[in-house]
Every structure is written in C-alpha cells, then in structure tokens.
C-alpha cells in the first residue's frame, strides 16, 4: 500500500494506491488516519481512485475513523472510488454514508 498525504486549505488529503486488505495495507491505512485524527485534522479527503479492492477490515478502519472524525465535527469524504470499491461499500450498506466527489479539488472545496 502506497499512501500519500498532503494538506490543502486545512483539509487532509490521503491518497491510497493498492488493494486495501488485512495485513500491512490496512495497518498503514489505520496509522495514517489515526495520525491525522490525533493531530486534530478531522476534515479528511480520501482518494480511492487507485484502490481496486477494499476488504471488510479496511471498511472497518474506514468506519471507525469516520465515526471519530464526525464526533469531532469533521468528516471523511471519498474521491473517485473504483467501481469495485463502490460495489463493495454498497453491498454492506455504507456507500450512502459518504459524500463522493470526482476529484480532490471538489472534495476539498466542499469543506469550505
């Protein structure tokens, strides 16, 4: 899992590359989100364009972090999730909990 983090307009943009699955990938993803949230960065944009697969452990980290961000007045918004990632989130009934944007600029702007 390749994780790239950048900050723009007080929004943390986390770009993931590779399958998000139990093991190192999910551990690194959890660490990135925990780091952002513990720094008080609760406005998060998650770029999933290059994540072909998300398993239930990845979804678990995502949902726990979403709850944490929202409890602190923030949110996690998704950018361009792959077709299969969208299908998976829909299957478990969670897709409608997220705002989904076609690109990071639009997602960042939505926090303004």
């Amino acid at each position: 899992m390749d994780i790239n983090m950048q900050r723009r307009s007080q929004v943390e943009i986390i770009q993931l590359r590779g399958p998000l699955r139990l093991g190192p990938a999910v551990n690194e993803f959890r660490q990135a989100l925990d780091e952002s949230l513990s720094n008080g960065d609760t406005r998060i944009v998650l770029d999933l364009a290059e994540v072909p697969m998300i398993d239930s452990s990845g979804i678990g980290v995502l949902m726990k972090s979403l709850a944490s961000a929202r409890q602190r007045g923030g949110n996690i918004k998704l950018v361009n999730p792959s077709k299969f990632a969208v299908q998976t989130l829909r299957m478990v009934g969670l897709l409608n909990l997220f705002e989904v944007f076609p690109d990071a600029d639009a997602a960042v702007a939505s926090f303004a």
Binding site: R21, L22, M63, M91, V92
Partner: protein, 149 residues
Amino acid sequence: MSDAISPTPAPGTGQPALRPQLSLAIPADAEQIANATDAVLACLAGLKVEEEKCMAIGLAVQEALANAVVHGCQNDVSKTVQCELSCDDQGRVLIVVADPGPGFDFSASREPVVQDVYNDHGRGVFLIRQLMDEVSFERGGSVIQMWKY
C-alpha cells in the same frame, strides 16, 4: 490434502467434474493472506475468467482467509490454512478454505451489522454471501465452500 476439504459435486450436475487448478497451504499469518489472494487472482486470470468475476472471487477469498487466520487459527502461525480453487466445464469456480479451528456460528452472519454502522468488524461473511452465488459451511464452520457461477 485432508478429505475434510473435498468439495461437493458441481451444482446441478450430480457429478464432480471438477478440475483442480490451485492448492495453497499458508501459515495463519495475516501478512500472508494478500499473497494467497493474489495467487488466486493470478490463477483466475490464467483461466481467462472475466475481471468482474475475478474481483468478486478475490474479495471473497480474502474474507474467507482472514476469517480462517484470525478466528479459526487465532493468528497462531504454527497452524495452517488451506485454500483450493477448482473449476468445472461450464466455467463455474469453486473455492474451498479450511482451517483447523473449532468453527463458528455461521448462521448469525446473514445480515450486515445494521445496529451500528460504525462498527469496525462483523461484515466478512455477509460480504462473502453477497459476492458468491452459493456458500456452504462444513465441520462446524471451519470449512467454507464458495461457488461463483
């Protein structure tokens, strides 16, 4: 291979008619799961299985292996999880994953965790049931058989 992992006949045929394509035995280590899933995906690609079907099977295998490693083996790397892939003449794919654990109450996993959408676990078997066309458990839940048509 143990006879406990022997697959059922292909559905609707009454005959096994299955061609084994891949047999894996991995230590119960969460870090090994992705490699095993990738081996399954590579095997499916070699069989010219369409991409959407590959992804569904791949995620189901990932979930089944994760259950076997984490719940069946309690992350005990001295234990082994088996994964077998077969296909029949009609292109249907059978995956069998077996662990040496005591099994689990698979009847309780037919619905997603709707009480708390923010829960960080409890979706794996539900996902498998959604992704695959036919799912059954044996040996108290320590063996899962999954068909994708």
